[in-house]
Amino acid sequence: MAALITTLTMVGFATIPIETSHFGKRFTILRNLMSFAAAMIIALMMGAIL
C-alpha cells in the first residue's frame, strides 16, 4: 500500500516556489493540499481493493 503513495507525484514539494510565482499562493496551496488528500484516498482505496 505504501507503494501507492507514488501518487504523490501530484504534490510538487520542490516545485511550490515556481508554482506560486506563476499562479499565486492560494492556488498553489489549494491544489497541493487537495492533491495530497486525493493521493491518500486513492492509496486507501487501492489498499482495500488489491
Binding site: T9, I18, S21, L50
Partner: protein, 230 residues
C-alpha cells in the same frame, strides 16, 4: 540580488555537500545534470508552443472550449492535454498560465496540471512495467476521477482573474497581461508592441481600450486586472 536567493542557497548546499563527502557531491551534480538535460529537451518546445498559442489562438476559442461554461467537454479536453504530455510538471506552468490568461477556467487548469503530473500516458506505460498492469490500471482511473473532482472543487473556490492578480512575481503578472493581448504587435495602440502596451497598462496607467485588434471585452479584462493590482 533577491532573485538569486535560491540559486545562492543551492550553491552553498553544493559546497557543503562537497566538504561533507565528495561522493555525495558527485551524485548530486550528476542528478542535477539529468534534470537539466530533461528540461533542455522539453522546455524549448513548450515555450514555442506557448508563444504560438499566445499569438494565434483567440481568446474566444479558449474561453469557449476550456472556459467556465465549457462543461464536461472542456474538462475532458484539459484531461487529454495533460495526459498526452511529456516532461516534468513545471514545464506545464507557462503554458497553463497563458491558457488561463486566454480564458481557461481554474478547474481545467488544475485538471491539466494534475493529469500532466500523475495521469499521463508515458507514466502509465512505465508504471505497468514496474508495478504491474493491475496496479497501473487501477491507480490511473482512480486518479482521473480524483482529478476531475479536484477541478470541480477548484472552480468553486477560485476564478481565473484571482490567479492573475495574485502572482507575486511582477514578471509573471506582466506575462499574464500580455497573454490577454492579441500579440500581433501591430502598433495600432500607439505603443511599441504588445509587451510595451501591457507594461503601460500595468504600470503607466495607460488607457485600456487602445487595442484596436483586441477581442470584445479586452478593455474590461485589462481594466479589472489593473484595478485589482493597485
Amino acid at each position: 540580488m533577491k532573485r538569486y536567493k535560491l540559486l545562492i542557497l543551492t550553491v552553498i548546499l553544493y559546497i557543503l555537500a562537497f566538504a561533507y563527502d565528495p561522493k555525495v557531491f558527485a551524485s548530486a551534480v550528476s542528478n542535477t545534470g539529468l534534470y537539466l538535460k530533461e528540461m533542455i529537451q522539453i522546455l524549448p518546445a513548450v515555450f514555442i508552443l506557448t508563444g504560438l498559442l499566445n499569438a494565434w489562438v483567440p481568446h474566444k476559442v479558449v474561453e469557449a472550449k476550456l472556459g467556465k461554461e465549457s462543461g464536461l467537454f472542456g474538462r475532458l479536453i484539459s484531461l487529454f492535454l495533460g495526459a498526452v504530455s511529456a516532461g516534468p510538471v513545471y514545464v506545464a506552468f507557462p503554458l497553463v498560465q497563458s491558457l488561463l490568461g486566454k480564458g481557461m477556467s481554474v478547474g481545467n487548469a488544475v485538471i491539466l496540471i494534475s493529469a500532466w503530473a500523475a495521469a499521463k500516458v508515458p507514466m502509465f506505460l512505465i508504471e505497468s512495467r514496474f508495478l504491474g498492469i493491475g496496479f497501473a490500471s487501477l491507480r490511473t482511473p482512480l486518479t482521473v476521477i480524483a482529478i476531475l473532482i479536484m477541478g470541480a472543487l477548484m472552480d468553486r473556490m477560485m476564478s481565473g482573474s484571482d490567479i492573475i492578480l495574485s502572482t507575486r512575481d511582477d514578471n509573471k503578472r506582466l506575462e499574464a497581461v500580455v497573454a490577454l493581448l492579441p500579440n500581433q504587435n501591430c502598433l495600432a495602440c500607439g505603443h511599441k508592441g504588445c509587451l510595451d502596451y501591457a507594461k503601460a497598462v500595468l504600470e503607466g496607467g495607460a488607457s485600456t481600450d487602445l487595442c484596436r485588434v483586441g477581442e470584445k471585452g479586452l478593455s474590461e479584462r485589462l481594466a479589472s486586472v489593473r484595478k485589482e493590482s493597485l
